[in-house]
Symmetry: C2
Subunit: 138 residues, 2 copies
Amino acid sequence: MGKGHASVKAMQRGALARATGCNLETIRYYETIGVMPDPPRDPNGYRNYGEDHVRRLRFITRARALGFSLDEIKGLLSLVDSHSQTCAEVEGVAAAHLKEVRDKIADLQRIEKALSDTVAQCSGAQIPDCPVLDALLV
Amino acid sequence: MGKGHASVKAMQRGALARATGCNLETIRYYETIGVMPDPPRDPNGYRNYGEDHVRRLRFITRARALGFSLDEIKGLLSLVDSHSQTCAEVEGVAAAHLKEVRDKIADLQRIEKALSDTVAQCSGAQIPDCPVLDALLV
DNA sequence: CTTGAGCCTGTATGTCCTACAGACCCTATG
DNA sequence: CATAGGGTCTGTAGGACATACAGGCTCAAG
């Protein structure tokens, strides 16, 4: 029994879409531009995905939602993919992205503060001009 | 002297682009879709911007870089614009965006951790297969 | 063996920009 | 004053990133 790490439940494109929240057609698009690999095919030609694909696609869709371009995402994924790069090269790419990520976090935290202040302060009142919101525009 | 809050240095489209980092043509695009207001014009027809426009456009470009759609940005800016909405309505919109913002922060923090761990652990070594990076794909 | 859901490919459409073309305005300089 | 340049104006074309649709194949269920 146990074929090692075998429990690879076969997944078709629709199942992958549901598992990741990614649009069905977008999966094919990511395949054509090379950010998702060409998956193995069943005898009937259907794409056959596994857990690796789920994790990779989930990362891609989240990274897109965070404003990373597909080129940046390729760069990040190359860190994972590259068994050909040295650790020193990998470190360089990672470090380059780190500042961008930290800047994004800082921006989001400012927005979060403005929104949570708004929710806290406006609550109940009827004043239609909330000065708190100006924080959004700093 | 001091004309009150008068020091509104006249700014043309190029100056606004440089002040915000936004592309020159994109400014005009944002105007046509209504996310930036039609600015006043100089006698020669040139657009004339002030500090308000700088802050607003800076917010828009940052929010786009953080993965917010233009529709979402319109929603956020309506919080600032709306002198017609009640505080209760404003609170609702703000609360709705708050969860999304916090989710984005959490996702970015996971990426940040994966990258900073990579930078810390890979440094110096020559091993081309860093298990640390798999954290990116959780 | 038909019916329907899901998959296949190719292509058209949509959003969000970005770039270009042709004309106008303004300043500087010979 | 003439003109050369750089900036602006409008309209429109092009590109990146998806998303939707059309026509046909496959497969399990009834």
